[in-house]
Symmetry: C2
Subunit: 362 residues, 2 copies
């Protein structure tokens, strides 16, 4: 970390690679001799078309997106997609949802406005500490899709294997684990993610959609912005896209490609998470929150023995310039989000502080 | 203009003040000692709350927004609002729209999905060269609102006075003239604008909504992102807002306040537009497109005697590093968008080129 920079454990928006920020700063008044900031460019200009085309090309290479999948850069975050997904794809008005926390609950609530939502499994009874066992799941054959949230930012849980939904398309909110590990796109009908965790600034939402679904969509006439097919037909430029945000995402894609791609990222993320979980598991003071069977590599949830000590821990973290370690109000306790751009040194420094705090308070 | 910077006549996204870009570049890796880029900040953090609060405060001061109006920073551009406006506010399923070009046509098309849209006046028969006479308009008394687009970017027209709608709320898309002149907010029930003309980067949409309308909205249960009231209740942070874009808008608001506010901006914009229109009016070669009665100060539409000469003009413009002077495909010809951040020198330099081109080709 350079200069005054700090270790930011925010659940999102989150840390970005320093190299990316440095390049963005250097190009702010003049992008590659264009005489303009990327913020000032017409989205209809050749220079901007080059930026968005390259971002998509790099993303396709990074993930290995098959040709029969379309890529979109939209706005509105996951929250807007909670509504647009049923509006576009609930062809028969029926879908299966797996409830693993706040984000699926919100998705379920919105989808219910448009059709028959069957919650076929839920982690609610165990306080969302655990992802339901996918092996024992039964899907409704008349479902238009099965919907899951891969990584649950608030509770710190993650699917370790995906449900086998056969001919029913699997739709996945990957917001908080997207690009943190390889993705087998062909398992899914639709993948989407808000950028503000591993990818770029808030305000960009990336979607990857299988083209046979798009060919049938939308299920009814929709206003322009709601219509995924219209956005696809216009290369994410039916209306002005979040041009600067997409440019930053493109810089992050190049940073990932240069640094070994998603396999290297997975290895680094496993290493970082292991350092933290290993310490928490052997600690007699800190307690991890999520069940061992489904721990997130991105969001590590834990707590001290009391709310007072949690508060003291957060207060003491300031001294080391660690920020955003407070858990979500629904879980309480503490949370360290360690996305792609969090260096291993940041996790090691945090563990050092955990040890020190445990020593002083146990 | 510094260094390699050029005169960018784009209709949007468009030029931003150099000072703003310089500050953004300087703060990219460390915003005011926070150790973070604004892009990396949790939207739930105190430091970011300070940024969005200050942006709203400055915007309220700049315009003089009455207390009974709420301000929102959302996503999705005008295009998303075309749908959300009727979904939230078409309480009786009826609204009057005035059609002044592409953007109102799109708004009308979307609104028709949700109710009875009465197009009470249209500029279509005169090729949208003219804003319909507002004095002679009759409004339907059962309308939930009257909808207009103030400045028509494509055709270069602008309302010089607004329709008097009595008790029916007037809703206004101000995307391409927002903050270019003083705004009398109390004339309107709702004002909205995409940021990418005079305000900031694409991906931020600003709304100003009278609170009695919000108290009745939405007209039916809506998914979370569609529901303006939910966004208002959460201070534009129901979900993650476009944090970095809002920060840039905030820097632009400060730049405007420092430079005399909206009155000074109006004066400067009138001066700039006059230089260009005066030349076009006396030219025997170039022809302005929009009717004199309703010329935009932001988007100056004109043409040479032929398409071939238009093309030659655009080719020649490269030599002076003028960019984005091509007219929209619907009008053809040429267009110079001269938003707030376009300096007077840019317009003077353009007129010099117009003269030179006219001399050489008349």
């Amino acid at each position: 970390m350079k200069g005054n920079r700090i270790y930011n454990f925010s659940a999102g928006p989150a840390m970005l690679p320093e190299e990316v920020l440095e390049q963005a700063a250097a190009e702010m008044l003049d992008y590659k001799g264009s005489g303009m900031s990327v913020m000032e460019m017409s989205h209809r200009s050749k220079v901007y078309q080059g930026i968005i085309d390259e971002a998509e090309k790099d993303l396709r290479e990074l993930i290995g997106i098959p040709e029969n999948y379309k890529v979109l850069f939209l706005q509105g975050g996951a929250t807007l997609q909670f509504a647009l997904i049923p509006l576009n794809f609930m062809f028969n008005g029926k879908a299966d949802y797996i409830n693993t926390g706040v984000w699926t609950k919100k998705a379920i609530k919105d989808a219910k406005l448009y059709g028959d939502v069957r919650v076929i499994a839920s982690g609610e009874e165990n306080g969302f500490k655990k992802i339901p066992d996918v092996k024992s799941l039964k899907f409704n054959e008349d479902s238009d899709y099965v919907y899951i949230c891969d990584n649950n930012t608030i509770f710190g849980t993650k699917y370790k294997e995906y449900p086998e939904t056969g001919d029913i398309p699997l739709f996945c909110d990957m917001s908080s684990c997207f690009l943190s590990e390889p993705i087998d796109v062909k398992k899914f009908g639709l993948i989407y993610a808000g950028a503000q965790k591993n990818v770029g600034p808030a305000g960009v939402t990336i979607l990857i959609i299988r083209d046979d679904l798009l060919a049938k969509a939308p299920r009814q006439p929709l206003p322009a912005y709601f219509d995924y097919r219209l956005h696809v037909e216009n290369g994410s430029m039916y209306n002005t896209p979040p041009t600067y945000g997409i440019y930053i995402c493109g810089l992050v894609f190049k940073w990932l490609l240069k640094n070994g791609g998603l396999k290297a990222r997975e290895k680094a993320n496993e290493e970082k998470a292991k350092i933290l979980y290993d310490y928490l598991d052997k600690s007699e003071f800190f307690k991890p929150f999520a069940d061992k069977s489904c721990r997130s590599l991105m969001n590590v949830t834990f707590r001290t023995p009391s709310e007072e000590l949690d508060a003291e821990f957060l207060e003491g973290a300031k001294k080391y310039r660690f920020t955003n370690l407070k858990g979500h109000r629904l879980t309480g306790g503490l949370r360290a989000s360690i996305y792609n751009a969090m260096p291993k040194e940041g996790v090691e420094a945090l563990v050092k502080y955990l040890k020190e705090f445990e020593e002083a308070h146990k």
